[in-house]
Subunit: 354 residues, 2 copies
Amino acid sequence: MTNRTIGIIGGGQLGRMLAMAAARLNYRTIILEPQADSPAAQVANAQITAAYDDPEALAELAKLCDVVTYEFENVPVTAVERLAASVPVYPPAKALEVAQDRVTEKRFLNASGIETARFHAIDSQSDLEAALADFGGEGVLKTRRFGYDGKGQKVYRKGDTAEGGYAALGSVPLILESFVPFVREVSIIAARGADGEVRAYDPTENVHRNGILHTSTLPAAIPAQTANAAREAATRLLNGLDYVGVVGMEFFVLADGGLIANEIAPRVHNSGHWTEAACVVSQFEQHIRAVAGLPLGDPSRHSDCVMTNLIGGDIDSVPAWLARSNVLVHLYGKTEARPGRKMGHVTEIMSIKA
Amino acid sequence: MTNRTIGIIGGGQLGRMLAMAAARLNYRTIILEPQADSPAAQVANAQITAAYDDPEALAELAKLCDVVTYEFENVPVTAVERLAASVPVYPPAKALEVAQDRVTEKRFLNASGIETARFHAIDSQSDLEAALADFGGEGVLKTRRFGYDGKGQKVYRKGDTAEGGYAALGSVPLILESFVPFVREVSIIAARGADGEVRAYDPTENVHRNGILHTSTLPAAIPAQTANAAREAATRLLNGLDYVGVVGMEFFVLADGGLIANEIAPRVHNSGHWTEAACVVSQFEQHIRAVAGLPLGDPSRHSDCVMTNLIGGDIDSVPAWLARSNVLVHLYGKTEARPGRKMGHVTEIMSIKA
């Protein structure tokens, strides 16, 4: 058991939790992140403070690390490709490419036999008008790239005017997605090892507020068949990308139990934070195991649970959470509680599975 | 929720696990430790690399921290007293004083109504001979101070010669303890909050090898009455010391279920490592909660489990442990696997409590 070094691009809370999981398995971690004293760097062995695409910083990271991973999907693909020439980088660049563009993503999912909402690529105002006409005047207009937590979106209802819509989102490449008549939202966290083995945690039922994940509940109120379909979709996706690491995959659930894939995140995912409280091996350790070439851990769940995000001023509720039994409180070391900023999360263990 | 700073004296694995628990609750940590790049410093915000009793280093630690704690019981009491003049230090210096000297410890336990082995303080060869005569020629001779993991001990059986015994252990203050006819060894991890509340985890049954903890098993094979007696003893001890933080307390169990206190450790304890796998709030978080003035967490256990230490070359068994289900592997970031050195531990979740 040598003490190898894992590079992590991105210094946020996901990098922080990855760094702690890596430490428990004897890996050293180096964070690449422009913000000094980042949440991840506070618990990592070292931080290279530089832009994610800084060529010298990337060369240094490659030199110091045995393998490199990332904690967010907007890492420049060129940076990952540059790194991958001299050090293994997981998940593969292809996964980033697919996840960074909503049109590419949906096309890849469809080609993998995974159903998504209907969509049109929008590159002009006239594209938008034609697409809205095709969807009966309804749909969600989103930027193709760099959207997250509901940012860069506009909803069209019947009767809304399309006028100025393309310019309002910045005259950048967009996508119009048709509405999906979903009854709930679920996600699945799955991992693929270097040997091609795939393991998935139980699907969670997610509730969003203001476009940001609010709660993840286990078990999700879905039939076993729907849960199995989510596992199968994740397996197809991971194998199709020759993926190594953890992926988060979000779905809409239809009234008949059918699944519509919404989006994928080629990284550990907010809706998998409950795994640290209710499983022996968390999604963070699972990701480290995968990228380090270790066998994947057992994703079994020992308890039912509910994870709640602490966003912005929610941090003030921490004393109340700490006073409750059966709640794991996990904070991210951020000093400033800006509105919409993820400050921490809590997982309540609801019951013990028989 | 401000991001306050906790100082930790000692940079070993206990400090490492405390630092990670502190990070999850938004505390920054600074380690005082003479060894550079210590296990704790790898996951802490900063390390002051200096001797534990270095006056300048202690002054710096006091200046930078809101509260200071320690991860081992051989911290110089003078250092803690010096610190305590300018920053709160928990557990209190009195606990260190009691734990650092086996005679003081037993006298304090006895005065608190907690039974121990019979003992004699030994300050000369003639003391040793008189004490052995009193115990029928049998007993365990130990140094009063700075013993751990079975080091600095000599066992006398009927017929052994006492000659040279005092000199053989260095002509330092010693203790002769009478044999206890125990059927098993248990320990209890308990915490006392700043408000005086006491909470205890379930007692564990411990097996030692070569004087070092080998396994801790939950539940311990003891009657409820014995478990309650362990909780009561811990509560008396903690209240008697006006303690704040986690304590580890080891007992011998007699055939009739009676308890004989063996020793106390004024810190998180190896026999409490299982709590990170089988409880929502681990002993490390519990200690951080106590010293930071937060409410104590629920010490309930959701699963039966067995913790096994990885000592020295046991580190080679890690790949096999990683390949098993329901095992949490936790390694300490030490590069050199010397014989007798604690390299990590594993906790197997054996069953789910109904």
